[in-house]
Symmetry: C2
Subunit: 448 residues, 2 copies
């Protein structure tokens, strides 16, 4: 009955997308009963868990609903949305065998941009200076020296006046999202931006919290929708939303803070790529506007090295107290070694020198990329906010997002479209390629 091919590695995600597409295309009609998990697993030759995970994801995103003792049913999706939804979502899944010369989806900073010799020198210094103290247990919120260094760095680079005490160091963004759920409760609803970075919503779900996708307008998260969503937490990226690139203006920031104040909820300000503002000054952080309602969060994985799982958040004082209540008997997840080395990198100005170098590098890449896009035979409009490491390229004449990706693939380029980052159906996002150029080099560009 269901002729699904689940031969790839990420079976549950493939199954989820296939069912989702069938619902969006009307192949599975609203109200139609889906097979039981066991029967479906047997039919597809996969484990029950695979079906379970796919159903969980569909449930979380509202494509299906479950009725006790009678099973899972497809939701009715508006006709209009069905048409706007690309039919060829299947093509977004990259087959293992498929070869791309250029990956504009997951890019990492070219390793030769990392100041390895400086870092190695700092590591050796830490080893001899800190010595056997490196073996000591790290307090749950992180090493004091690193917390102070981050606080000073935030002040210099972002104008954030954060008391070092309220900074919590963690093993990267995913870890900290989980800590936020443990702090604020998994019975709460977490509003996430739609379209958005899928890891945010999936990590909330993995930690047992409910999330609700809220559309992004040209002013950031749609506050009218947020106000009626029942959400307790709004997870936003006001500096540079991924993937739309939208920068939330000050007026919308104030409204967002008003929402948090009146609802009693919290804002997670995910400042994931603020280091990479290529032109002009970034807007003031929301945590500066209202430190008691905003959890500011950032990571060094993107700016230093992907192997370095180190992120941090600045907690409102009340939440910091709660953090201590829960975690005071736990040790921090990040080895003291990395914390000490990073502290020296920040205090010695090496990190900012590195970021400046990266920024200059990316300015060149960005310029060359814009030229390439302008020279394309297809009509293309670039939406460029001068911030972060991705741009949106609109192809108004493209027949579908599938066609955009196929044309790119024919040139050896792996790319995704705005619609690929949808967590819930949304109109008006067609024809926009999301170009993450963080892994791009001049050499690669010359191959296009």
């Amino acid at each position: 009955m269901y002729n699904y091919d689940l031969s790839g590695r990420n079976k549950y995600y493939t199954l989820y997308s296939l069912i989702r597409d069938d619902i969006l295309r009307g192949k599975i009609r609203g109200g139609e009963r889906l097979p039981s998990k066991r029967a479906f697993a047997a039919e597809l030759g996969v484990s029950v868990v695979t079906v379970q995970l796919a159903y969980d994801q569909l449930l979380a995103e509202g494509y299906i609903s479950s009725k006790e003792r009678s099973g899972f049913f497809a939701e009715s999706v508006a006709e209009g949305l069905k048409k706007q939804r690309p039919a060829a979502v299947k093509k977004e899944e990259t087959k293992e065998g498929e070869k791309f010369i250029i990956d504009l989806v997951h890019g990492n900073t070219p390793p030769n941009m990392f100041p390895f010799s400086v870092w190695a020198r700092l590591i050796r210094g830490v080893l001899s200076d800190v010595g056997e103290h490196l073996l000591e247990r790290v307090p749950c919120d992180g090493d004091k020296q690193l917390k102070r260094a981050i606080s000073a760095y935030l002040y210099r680079s972002r104008g954030i006046d954060a008391d070092p005490r309220y900074i919590v160091v963690g093993a990267g963004a995913e870890h900290l999202y989980g800590v936020i759920v443990q702090l604020l409760g998994r019975d709460k609803i977490y509003a996430v931006e739609n379209p958005g970075y899928g890891k945010i919503s999936s990590t909330y779900a993995l930690n047992g919290a409910r999330f609700t996708p809220v559309g992004v307008t040209d002013k950031g998260i749609d506050i009218s929708v947020l106000e009626n969503s029942g959400a307790f937490v709004a997870h936003v990226s006001p500096s540079h939303q991924f993937p739309t690139g939208v920068v939330t203006p000050v007026s919308a920031r104030s409204r967002l803070i008003e929402w948090a104040k009146s609802s009693g909820g919290y804002i997670v300000e995910d400042d994931y790529d603020s280091e990479f503002r290529l032109t002009g000054k970034p807007l003031q952080c929301m945590c500066g506007l209202c430190p008691e309602k905003v959890i500011y969060m950032n990571t060094f994985s993107k700016s230093l090295a992907p192997s370095m799982r180190l992120g941090y958040m600045v907690l409102p004082p009340e939440l910091y107290e709660r953090f201590l209540q829960i975690f005071s008997s736990s040790a921090n997840f990040v080895p003291l070694f990395e914390q000490k080395a990073l502290a020296q990198m920040l205090d010695g100005g090496y990190f900012e020198r590195h970021i400046n170098r990266l920024r200059n590098y990316y300015r060149t890449i960005h310029g060359a990329l814009i030229k390439k896009l302008a020279a394309l035979p297809e009509k293309c409009e670039v939406v460029d906010t001068g911030s972060g490491l991705h741009v949106i390229a609109k192809f108004p004449d493209a027949k579908s997002d599938g066609q955009i990706k196929l044309l790119a693939a024919a040139r050896g380029i792996r790319i995704k479209c705005l619609s690929d980052y949808l967590l819930a159906p949304m109109a008006g996002v067609e024809g926009c390629a999301v170009i993450n150029y963080s892994g791009l080099t001049q050499e690669l560009l010359s191959k296009i």
Copy 2:
């Protein structure tokens, strides 16, 4: 009404213990309604969250129950248990100001026992040998070289034939407990040993899973109780249970595996201190008896250094597949640096040399401790299994556990009793001090 002093740091835990003791002592009677969270918070001058956390813990442990729209009610606790429960549980909380010369509760290996110069040499070697590859993203299950090194070490030291593929590296035991919940589901019931290491149950609870304490008999976890508990997972330490010191015999291990097979559940074999068997050979691991039903887990935090948050588990193949399905797009939490250095420490035999040295050291400390206990003016029987880094000292003439702790405190010794590790009321655990001697030195011993 409630004359509770919550001036210490860990307010929620203090509140929880005070309510628990009042229930156990009958001061709060079974069926009695507890104040609403808001009212209680206002009365005590603490935040609502503090009361919430205390109530959550009491709920999880079955001291209170909640009825929708009417509040929280104390459960009836059997009269017999009330009497057996020490009245002075409050004294187990160490006040910030209190000074002890010797801590027999939380001990860490003396730092000078760590082969720091070897480790520093390995770190420098990794830095120059692995070089810029250290910046690469680590696969979700850990560095391949470390996984192979752990597999070989497990074979040499424990006779475990673990396919390196199924080993998952994580940021210590607490992190891995959370991953287990994400793998097996928070709708499941997790059976934990009672008395037991509180971190296990509290970490399950923190991750949103339900746990049920199951009593420990002289053969390990009580399987008859487990069979009727509705548990899906049994988290056990068959090599050397903490704090009872019980070693689960082979017959009970087989029954435990039968339980997992017939119930469809899993066993978490927490082998937290198996390196420290001081005499004889340890029993075969349960994961060797039935690799498809047992998750074997261990950590290097205890044997190497508390700052090193590095643990691992060997997953049954089916669960490893599920792990990849969930985490394949996530990076591992442990920096590659630590993973490479540990791999070299294992492969080069340095770790085993370190453990042998520690074992000899602890054999001496253990001997001296037993002599000290024998020379005490109080009647004392030592229960010694020749394994792990703690012993149980029974004081048959002690009036209460509170008295044992007060007498110890008068000598500058911080100690806990078996009853302090109870997750649920249990008879017959009185008069037993739990002596963790991992932080003990000859010098400290001479001060007693």
